[in-house]
Every structure is written in structure tokens, then in C-alpha cells.
Symmetry: C7
């Protein structure tokens, strides 16, 4: 198994995406590519205990990501 | 679906583009490439609650981008 | 022996993964690739003496990693 | 249209180039390449409200650029 | 002689590895690759005068490294 | 004209090279490559109003450069 | 002449290597490659006016380097 295969198992499920700079997202993983660019639906952005819902599809750039967890 | 296909769905629609360093843009997504370089029209730049309109086409460099949301 | 061969020896064993920004993970190394993207199971995230368990498979992006140790 | 096509439309026109680190340039866009390296003529450098004219051709390195706007 | 040939001469010897962020390792260089990813055995991590022994094989990511010295 | 063609016009002339981190050089541009690695002769390094002459040929790494100006 | 040709002229001579983060080395340039990875012998590390001799061959990673000067 390669890391991106593990991410495949999270497809269409809720994930936590921790980003550099103290920001994170929770949302449903709708797509990803080999750069770890992600598409989340029904996402919530969390920064310093402030939660902001993001409607539609949010594209997160892979190189901002620290880790992705269920 | 790949992440850039999701971005294709936002073409010619208003998007929020969050950048590193506390800066963001709102504007109509007119073009993008595989590096996530974007062209926005009718853009507004937001930094520390200060909003600056940017006339014409604004080219945003992909590697400054954290996420793109409708 | 090349560095990734050494990592192969840690497969399915507990590792400490030290990340940039004062964050670390302890978990079982389930997968890795040539970018040092890792998959950890049964992971615990440690940041400033605060320990957070992460259920399921955690994908850690290789370019955030400083070192990996048993 | 691709982002660099949009930049083509700004050729030989005045642009604002916002750089990382709080620096920006205003000048006439004389050339660019696919890395977004730019050549500006008649440029003014702005940093912390201090404006410095730069005579001749100023070559700005693409990876310092955040955005380019008319 | 190329730089990696010089590193070859340090193979199976004790080295000091200085990392970005004020961290360093001392250990026996067991392996390296062209990215300067290293494997150290019998390593000690030094950060702010605090020394932590790391048992087994420690894989240090090349892009965190500033210099390697005997 | 491409950006590196413009730099060609500055060859063997005095240039100002602004670097990340508040450092700059003034010197005669003797050589450059496509990464914007530069060779300066008769260079002066300026940092925080302190000027240090650098005799011989100074090789400046391209990825530290913000802009090059006459 | 290309920048690396200029560095060739400094081979087996004393150089000053200025690094990011306020660190520098003085030593004899024994080897380099196209990434500007360097090998120095008889090196002295300077950081905040503190000078530390480094015996043997010191391998300095190219991407930490700002400039190299005689």
C-alpha cells in the first residue's frame, strides 16, 4: 500500500485536514491528486477556535497541508 | 474527478482565494493552470479588514494560495 | 543501503515522526513513498505537551517531516 | 485562456506587482516568462510607504511575486 | 571529487548534522541518498542544550539539513 | 524579449541585487544562469546600512534574489 | 562564463560562505556540484560572533547558501 492508496480509502468520507499556519478544515473528501491538492465538500474552516462554514467545493492546495486524518 | 476538474466548475463564477500571509481575494475566476496560477476579474483584495478593489485582470501566483472556495 | 531501505525496516512498527513547527506524531508506520509521505495507524499527535489521539489512518505529508525515529 | 495569456494583455502597460515581504513595484511590463520572472521599465519600488524610483530595466524574480494587477 | 563523494568518506563514522530550526544530531552515518536524506544509528538529538538519545535508525530528511561535519 | 534577455543587457554593468532578508549587493554583473545565480565583481554588500566590500568574484544564489536593477 | 565556472576558480582556495539564518563558514572549497552543495576543509563556522572550528570535510547544503565570496 502506498500513502495515496490510504487516502483513497477516505474518499467520500469526512476528514480533518491540518494546514500550515494554524488553519484546519473538516469536510468530505471528494477528490485528490498526487500533489495532495484536495477537494472538500461541506467544509468547515477552523482557525484560532473560529469556525467558518465554506459552501460548495473547497480546493485546498497540497503544499499547505501537514496531515490528513479521518 | 480530480481537484482541477472541481476548479473548472468554478470558472466564470465568484470565488474566495485565501493566500499565505493573511491576504485574500474575492473575484470572478477567469482562468487557471495546473500550478493554480489564477486570473480573477472584478477582484477585491482583503487584508486585515482593509478592502482594495483591483480593476482589470489580476493574476494570482499559485504558490501563494492556501485554498479556493466559492 | 539507501535511506528508504532503512524506513522499510520500520514498516508496521511504532515510529516517532518529528514535524516542522513543533508538532510530532507517534504511530505505526503502515506505508510510505519516495517523498516521505507516510501513513500512520493508531497515531497520537503531540504539540506543546498536548496529546491528541487520531483514529484510523493519518496521512502525513513528507515535506513537513524533519526526522523519523523508532 | 490560460493565466499567462492574461498577462500577455498587460504587456507594455503599467502593472502593480505585489511581492512577499511587504514590497511592491509599479512599472511597465516589458517581458515575462513561464516562471513569472518579469521585466519592468520605469519602475517604482514601494516598501512601507517609501517610494524608490528604479531606472532602466528591473528584473523581478517570479517566485517572490504574490499577484500582478493592472 | 563531488560533494556526495566526500560524504561517502564519512559513511559508518560519527557525524554532526546541523538542521534548520536550531536542532542537531550526532550519530553514525549509515546511509544517504542524493537528496541528502540520511540514516543515523546511535543518534543523539540536541536542541537548546537538551540531549535526547534516539535508539535504532533515525532517518533525517535532507531538506532540513544545513551542513554535515565529522 | 524574455526576462533573461534583459539581464543580458546588464552584463558587465553595475547592478543592484536585492536579496531576501534585508541584504543587497551592488557590483558588476559578470555572469548569470537560468536559475538567476549571479557572479558579481567589485561587489559591495549592504545590510542594515552597513557596507562591506567583497573582493574578487561573488557568487549569489538565484533563489535568494528578489530583484535585479541597474 | 557561467556562475559555476566562476566557482571553479575558487576551488582549493579559501572562501566565505554566507548561509540563511545568520550563519557563515570560512574554509577551503574542495568540491561543489550544480546544486551548490559544497565541501569545505579547514572550516570555521561563524554564528553571532561565535567561531567554531570544524575539523575534516564539512558538507554544506546548497539551498542554505546566500552567497559565496573569496
Amino acid at each position: 500500500m502506498k500513502p495515496l492508496d490510504a487516502l483513497q480509502q477516505s474518499l467520500h468520507k469526512r476528514v480533518l485536514v491540518e494546514l500550515k499556519g494554524g488553519r484546519s478544515f473538516r469536510g468530505t473528501l471528494d477528490a485528490f491528486d498526487q500533489h495532495l491538492n484536495l477537494v472538500l465538500s461541506g467544509a468547515e474552516e477552523v482557525m484560532k477556535d473560529q469556525v467558518t462554514p465554506r459552501s460548495g467545493l473547497t480546493l485546498v492546495r497540497g503544499d499547505s497541508i501537514i496531515y490528513i486524518s479521518p
